[in-house]
């Protein structure tokens, strides 16, 4: 029998690569996300004209933008499986944990790629000066992981409501709120040329870890009947 026990990481990787390949072939989520980001950014920039925004407002705008971009595309990982009916095969042959973390990893990569596209445009359009680049990048990564973690588990719930996508934002926002507030405050500090405390960064990291552990515990209840 040609069975060789490969570990969980391999399954997670397989699921992530599968989603990546399907996404690469259709390019639906990527282009929708990117266009959404571009339009919201342009509309902000057009409406404020040449006026410069205070740092805390700019920081809030950045995270509101990222949050709503995530809401526009990240539910797809589960909703798509449910709509096309492939979720049954995935349930039968994949383990819940591998599915959760595979999808989570895919969402994190999507969101990070989107952030990499948004940030230069953001700096360009809104004429922002970034001090402390290295800390800024850490804050962005932690914030993106938080958004991806919260939206992956809620996407699994939204998929069961027969594609009531408006629910996605409603469900995700309360769960994401602590991370959202701390990302905004850390970013505002960076834009004001103040180094955020190490405790701010630790808080964000701790939130991500707790959210992922909790998702992993409750996901089996969502995945199996």
């Amino acid at each position: 029998m040609p069975t060789i026990r490969l570990n969980l990481l391999n399954c997670i990787w397989a699921i992530m690569m599968k989603d990546g390949l399907c996404e690469f072939r259709t390019r639906y989520a990527v282009s929708a996300l990117f266009m959404f980001a571009l339009i919201s950014l342009a509309s902000i920039s057009m409406s404020i004209g040449a006026a410069s925004l205070p740092a805390d407002l700019t920081a809030a705008l950045l995270w509101v933008l990222l949050f709503f971009c995530a809401m526009a595309g990240l539910s797809r990982v589960f909703v798509q499986e449910e709509e096309s009916g492939t979720i049954i095969a995935l349930q039968l042959y994949g383990s819940g944990q591998a599915v959760l973390f595979g999808k989570l990893l895919f969402n994190i990569i999507m969101l990070l790629a989107l952030t990499m596209l948004i940030i230069p445009l953001f700096i360009l359009f809104l004429n922002v000066d970034i001090y402390h680049w290295s800390i800024f990048i850490v804050v962005l990564i932690l914030g993106d992981i938080g958004i991806a973690a919260a939206s992956t588990i809620t996407a699994a719930m939204v998929a069961k409501t027969q594609g009531k996508n408006a629910l996605f934002t409603v469900l995700t926002f309360p769960i994401l709120l602590p991370q959202f507030l701390s990302s905004i405050s850390a970013t505002a500090k960076i834009l004001m040329n103040v180094k955020p405390d190490i405790s701010d960064i630790l808080f964000m990291a701790a939130y991500n870890v707790v959210l992922m552990i909790a998702s992993s515990i409750v996901f089996d209840y969502l995945w199996y009947d």
Binding site: T3, L6, R25, I88, A89, L92, Y224
Partner: protein, 208 residues
């Protein structure tokens, strides 16, 4: 590995809302045996197979899959079975070959290109295996599910109307796969109304 697998249904019943599909099903299927479930549309054949697969919960009763006097847990149960059913849908944006590769990786079975080539050849998809499943006909999709079954080599086969959408050649293929599977000591449960598929049966039950 677990060559002495046996499936045991203990007092299984299912009702959806107030509609009772079946009650009090007790049976045992051992390795190398074939059970055929027949019954009219809506009698619950597919539901029973899904319950055995763990995709659906029985209203009462339990499914036990036993090997070496040890009962499998949910994870082990899923790892030992293969299901062919109209409800299983493969990824339309992957090619046939990629679908097989993906699902075998999920099942932690190492499967090389050469083997996949062989399975595709067997089910008659050798030419089309690198096309997107999106472009396949329904019959070709059914054949791809058969290839996936060959690649997974499950101990417990659950076949829900396996010959639907297949031509005469495809039906011969299924008959051959079933007898090969039984020779290799797999336990096979078929839900069908085709008399020729029922020929393999060691036992039959009819749902009303």
């Amino acid at each position: 590995m677990y060559r002495d697998i046996s499936v045991k249904l203990v007092d299984v019943s299912k009702s959806i809302g107030t509609r009772v599909l079946f009650t009090g099903i007790n049976l045992v299927v051992n390795a190398g045996q074939c059970l055929v479930i027949t019954g009219p549309n809506g009698s619950g054949k597919s539901t029973l197979l899904k319950i055995i697969a763990g995709l659906n919960q029985p209203t009462t009763g339990a499914i036990q899959i036993i090997s070496n006097n040890k009962q499998f847990d949910a994870e082990e149960r899923r790892a030992c079975l293969g299901l062919i059913s109209p409800e299983i849908i493969l990824y339309a944006d992957l090619t046939g070959r990629e679908n097989i590769l993906f699902f075998t990786r999920l099942r932690k079975i190492r499967c090389n290109e050469h083997q996949i080539e062989g399975y595709c050849q067997k089910v008659g998809l050798a030419i089309d295996k690198d096309q997107l499943v999106r472009t396949y006909s329904t019959g070709m999709r059914q054949r791809l599910k058969l290839a996936l079954m060959l690649a997974m080599q499950p101990l417990l086969w659950l076949l829900d109307e396996p010959s639907s959408n297949l031509d005469a050649d495809g039906k011969r293929l299924i008959a051959q796969m079933i007898s090969n599977g039984l020779e290799q000591n797999a336990a096979i449960i078929i839900a069908t109304n085709e008399p020729w598929e029922a020929e393999h049966a060691d036992y039959k039950i009819e749902l009303a």
